[in-house]
Amino acid sequence: MPAKTAAATVTYLEAIADALRAEMDADPDVFLIGEDVGQFGGAFKVTKGFLDRFGPERVVDTPIAESGFTGLACGAALMGLRPVVEFQFADFISCAFDQIINNCSRHYYRTGNPIPVTFRAPFGARLRAGPTHSQSIEAYFAHVPGLKIVAPATPEDAAGLLISAIRDNNPVLYLESKYLYRRVEAPGPLSLDPVPIGSAKVVREGTRVSLLTYSVGVHQGLEAAAKLAEESISVEVVDLRTLVPLDVATITASVNKTSRAVVLHEDARRHGYGAEIAATVQEECFWRLDGPVVRIAAKNTPIPTSPQLEDAAVPQLPEIISTLRKVATT
């Protein structure tokens, strides 16, 4: 398989497609299943051209049946195949909740027989898509033993983590940001080496405060850190990349250095994934902290549609900058 893609620049969306295509080229046991993934190339066009390249046996258009095709994928994975399931929107994964929770997530614990399946779920807000097409779903699933969860922020990690997810022998929920699909790009050619699951990355080094975030939050965090650098406030940005299993060592190393921690995500604040990070930081770093761990998150509301409402619901740059400034300077 090619170790790199050829294009001069690669978007986040293209990185997902390139990685998926490369894995399907390399491993005949990998197949793609979901709604509109074949003839239509996917609702977001991630799998454009896949049907022609791999045929209907490996690019399976299904009826609207999230529970049905999730169960199908789990059964096929149990028999040794490596399905990649595309949920058209992460919001629709709730229709497959029973299959993922009761069947898929604990089958290995129950039986010792692995289910190597990847669930691709385009998630998140900022596209004016409203309460049932903008959700962040990580907290529902992070609670469930037996699942892994990754949430890449960059084209490099989108490719590398998808490759790792497909090769992993466990069910992996791959949270792809539909907001980032065509908004971030990386210089090509792009490496198609796997990025290890369970490994966070310090994407900007700093000394005064650690911003612990993932997906869209990484880009907001880098922008905020650049602004605050003008005020000589040094922010370290940690891209978690994997939510389960959490890379506690990278988090604690950063917080022990800066003595301050802010958590940022786009999911609702209450019982959001940030609560787990904050709890972990206080357990591991309490005596090194100069202040409380602070969370920046969406309001405890559904994600509304109108721009004025949605922008009020999810974290925006001014709030992130002011929060980081306050934490860093008190």
Binding site: F31, E57, V60, T62, P63, A65, S67, G68, F69, T70, G71, L72, A73, C74, G75, A76, A77, L78, M79, G80, L81, P83, D98, Q99, N102, N103, H107, Y108, Y109, R110, T111, G112, N113, P114, P116, P145, G146, K148, N169, N170
Partner: protein, 341 residues
């Protein structure tokens, strides 16, 4: 004689039973009877174990489901995949599950198929191509479509067979699995074991359909209704459905009608079932009827039948005695095996 109507949803009036199906060749017929007798003996033994407090929770049995379990299992090859129910001990036994392994599951033993990580009716063995079910029936219907998909994907002519009851046809997974299997022409056979009760809920509160076999029409696949107490009749329709799937002609639905002769589980006295219904079905014990057919065919004589049943009871007791002393899991192993390496 003309049989009573026991093939129908009470909504739909009387139906006449189909004539007795042709039998099979002797060795297969005797083998089917042996496994049916063993299923009955093991479950009767486990009822005693339940009453003696030897099991952890309740006990789910398949009395009057023996012909369905064995008749369908006997239509498959070892390389085919099954996703059975808690009424289908005969499917497991047919494929080589040991009775003590099932007892061990109901006891939470370290030696159970799940090592005590799951229990009661949640057992299976993938090495025997038996998918371990969860309680969310028919959760395994979509899973079986995946097994069928994989068998075809790998270029084999293997078939997957999935089982559910009348009650679980109400869930979306029933519809989604049949719809996907139909449109993808998957090599899958779906069995609905219509035992007339979904825990306490009768057919009249489960569906307004005349029956379950007719639901197949909605998916563009064949559906057939069969007397679930007649192992040879069940076997005959299962063989046809499996042959169809194996030939690449797609899935089928089989409704096998029987009666749940024990409670939902042994804690349930099932006093909501009218006595006349159980009295009627008591006359159609699938194991007795199979024995009578073997004698009628000259495959076994009375002594031969008695010997099979005695052997089954002895095996059940021997396995019970064997399982009692087996170890329970070590507490410090609790966190192991959450993730595969």
């Amino acid at each position: 004689m003309e049989e009573e109507d026991n093939m129908a949803n009470p909504r739909t009036g009387t139906r006449t039973r189909k004539p007795k199906a042709a039998t099979v060749e002797r060795d297969l017929a005797v083998r089917m009877f042996e496994v049916m007798a063993l299923m009955r003996a093991v479950e009767d033994r486990m009822v005693t174990m339940y009453r003696q407090g030897e099991l952890l929770g309740s006990l789910y049995t398949g009395h009057w489901h023996e012909a369905i379990a064995v008749g369908t299992a006997a239509a498959l090859r070892a390389a085919d995949v099954v996703a059975p129910l808690h009424r289908d001990l005969g499917v497991h036994l047919w494929r080589g599950m040991e009775p003590w392994q099932v007892m061990a599951s109901f006891m939470g033993k370290a030696t159970s198929p799940t090592g005590g990580r799951d229990g009661t009716l949640h057992y299976g063995r993938l090495d025997l191509n038996i998918i371990n079910p969860v309680s969310h029936i028919p959760n395994n219907y979509p899973v079986a479509t995946g097994a069928a998909f994989a068998l075809r994907y790998r270029g084999t002519d293997g078939v997957a067979m999935a089982y559910c009851g009348d009650g679980s046809t109400g869930r979306g997974d029933f519809h989604e699995a049949l719809n996907i299997a139909g449109v993808q022409h998957l090599p899958c056979v779906f069995i609905v074991e219509n035992n007339q009760y979904s825990y306490s809920t009768p057919l009249t509160l489960t569906t307004a359909s005349a029956d379950f076999a007719s639901k197949a029409a909605g998916y563009g696949i064949p559906g057939e209704k069969v007397d679930g107490t007649d192992v040879f009749a069940v076997h005959e329709v299962a063989v046809q459905a499996v042959a169809r799937a194996r030939a690449g002609d797609g899935p089928s639905l089989i409704e096998a009608v029987t009666m749940r002769m024990h409670g939902h589980a042994e804690h349930d006295p099932a006093d909501y079932v009218p006595a006349e219904l159980t009295d009627l079905w008591a006359k159609h014990d699938p194991v007795e009827e199979c024995a009578a057919r073997l004698i009628e065919q000259g495959f076994l004589d009375e002594d031969g039948v008695a010997a099979v049943r005695a052997q089954a009871r002895a095996t059940a007791l021997e396995h019970r005695n064997k399982v009692l002393g087996m170890p329970m899991p070590e507490p410090d192993s609790e966190e192991e095996r959450v993730y595969a390496s």
